[in-house]
């Protein structure tokens, strides 16, 4: 069954100034002979939240990893702030410094909290003098108040929710231009969820933030744009409220009602 593209998700013309944060054109990815992503085209604004939702196996995480450079076998075109990801000046490492990725499971290095935050900063002297950055990013990640008196304690002594916020701070310390979050609050307590969502909203004021989530309520709370994916394709792309109140596609409606999504 060939999907009909609804007028609502027709890509905006390139000349528009508002949507240069992330431009994806015809992105396809196959791993081990299995099609993970199929012909994805998206435009995301320079600043603001976009949540990506959809059933398991829809390719949401893979999409993030293509933006990051962790997957490299994709076809198509990806532009971040108008720069081609494939020809990123400085190569893959600088690309990954520009794109911050926070995963589902918080993973901290076996060092102190402060050392973790500055870990991405290259150069020992710079790291030593980074106290200002440490405070800034920990505040942005809503963790400063909890750890400001114990920056030199091991990061492993933090709770899971605190560790995840630490990961966010760590990613922010290298001044990325784009933040990707892959189900960041999936295994966390409600308070951490709330704090992280707060941070995300704050960050979205200055840069594009893409957040993959399973939690539809969270997607609603975060606001911004919503992308609904299923089986490697973008089914619908809409503003948050209109997606949840007036889903245009059949598959979206079925998904929101928690029935099995029959897209192919």
């Amino acid at each position: 069954m060939i999907m009909q593209t609804h007028p609502l998700i027709k890509p905006l013309p390139r000349q528009s100034r508002q949507h240069h944060g992330v431009e994806i054109e015809g992105l396809s990815l196959s791993l081990a002979d299995k099609a993970i992503l199929q012909d994805i085209s998206l435009r995301l604004p320079d600043a603001g939240i976009t949540t990506v939702i959809g059933p398991s196996g829809a390719g949401k995480s893979s999409l993030l990893r293509c933006l990051n450079g962790l997957h490299q076998q994709w076809q198509g075109e990806i532009l971040l702030q108008r720069r081609d990801v494939r020809h990123w000046p400085g190569g893959g490492d600088l690309l990954r410094r520009h794109v911050g990725l926070i995963g589902q499971k918080p993973c901290v290095f076996p060092h102190s909290i402060r050392a973790n935050v500055v870990f991405g900063i290259q150069g020992r002297r710079k790291r030593r003098k980074a106290d200002g950055i440490v405070e800034t990013v920990l505040k942005q990640a809503a963790l400063w108040d909890e750890v400001k008196h114990r920056l030199h304690e091991p990061a492993e002594s933090l709770s899971l929710g605190q560790q995840q916020r630490l990961c966010i701070a760590r990613a922010l310390a290298i001044r990325p231009g784009l933040i990707l979050l892959d189900e960041p609050t999936a295994s966390l307590d409600p308070r951490s969820k709330q704090l992280i969502e707060q941070s995300i909203r704050q960050l979205a004021g200055t840069m594009p933030v893409v957040c993959v989530t399973h939690d539809l309520e969270q997607a609603r709370r975060l606001g911004g744009g919503v992308i609904f994916m299923c089986e490697g394709r973008v089914i619908e792309e809409a503003a948050c409220e209109s997606f949840f109140t007036q889903p245009q596609r059949l598959e979206s409606r079925e998904f929101l009602r928690w029935t099995v999504c029959d897209c192919d």
Binding site: L94, R97, F109
Partner: protein, 278 residues
């Protein structure tokens, strides 16, 4: 009946080390009786004149082991990094196989190689009268401890979790930085164990060292001269085991060398075991 076998076996196994130590202590007692602890710093070993200096062999063992570690560590560690990080599964298997092969070569064959390949090489390249020296012993020991170092270091590097590496990758750190700041620091405890095990092996090696070290009980002059024939703890025991009259003080002095060897080796082993626990 079963209990008897099990308990008895465990008892025997456990007691072996105490029995060994006991006999060593008992047999070396005459030396302490006749000389007290003077022999430790005594620099002459001349049994015919009651001189049982331990100093030459302590220095000899020290230099040969140090040299072996200094030579083997960089290249062994590099090989471990290569196998763990840069090779595919196939390459890693080949490297490991090669190392296991080397580990299986009996030490007397290494001695043969040392005697008839290494010594002539040293004599011609360094213009020496004889290649028998601490240098030769150190070189040979380095080759012999490479497999141990490499295999255990490689394991230590491989056990650093994928997540840690991916975290560092996501922060835009390139391979050398990841290796230096994430992988090696976390593999360090395992690498330390590898070094201790290699140290123990180098320390206890007898036959290969016996054949190339020169068996001359004399302090190197100057103290850092590695190009002269010398003696290590193990080579002295090996060479004079058959000659010492049983029960004499000479005999006791040799046993004392064995005791020192055993005690240091046990200490190293305990340290290595403690390093392996976490």
């Amino acid at each position: 009946m079963l209990r008897l076998w099990l308990t008895g076996s465990a008892f025997v196994s456990g007691m072996t080390i105490l029995v060994v130590l006991g006999f060593l202590i008992q047999a070396s007692w005459p030396l302490l009786q006749s000389q007290g602890l003077a022999f430790v710093t005594e620099s002459e070993w001349y049994p015919y004149e009651q001189l049982y200096g331990l100093a030459p062999v302590l220095v000899g063992s020290f230099w040969s082991i140090l040299l072996a570690l200094l030579l083997a560590l960089p290249t062994g560690l590099a090989a471990a990094i290569l196998a763990a990080e840069l090779c595919g599964g196939r390459g890693r298997s080949i490297v490991r196989f090669g190392m296991e092969l080397m580990a299986g070569i009996p030490s007397v064959v290494y001695g043969l190689l040392g005697l008839w390949l290494l010594l002539p090489l040293l004599e011609s390249r360094l213009n020496l009268l004889t290649g028998r020296s601490l240098l030769a012993a150190g070189l040979l020991l380095a080759v012999m401890i490479l497999p141990t170092l490499m295999v255990f270091s490689e394991e230590a590097i491989r056990t650093v979790s994928r997540e840690q590496r991916e975290m560092a990758l996501n922060l835009g750190l390139n391979w050398p930085v990841r290796l230096w700041r994430v992988v090696l620091p976390q593999a360090w405890s395992g690498i330390r164990v590898a070094i201790l095990l290699a140290l123990g092996r180098a320390m206890g090696e007898t036959v290969a060292v016996m054949l190339v070290v020169g068996s001359l009980d004399r302090l190197p002059e100057p103290f850092y001269n590695l190009l002269q024939p010398a003696q290590t703890l193990t080579s002295r025991i090996g060479r004079e085991m058959a000659e010492a009259a049983v029960g004499s003080v000479h005999w006791a002095a040799l046993i004392m060398c064995g005791l020192v060897l055993a005690l240091v080796a046990m200490a190293i082993s305990l340290l290595a075991q403690r390093g392996q626990r976490p």
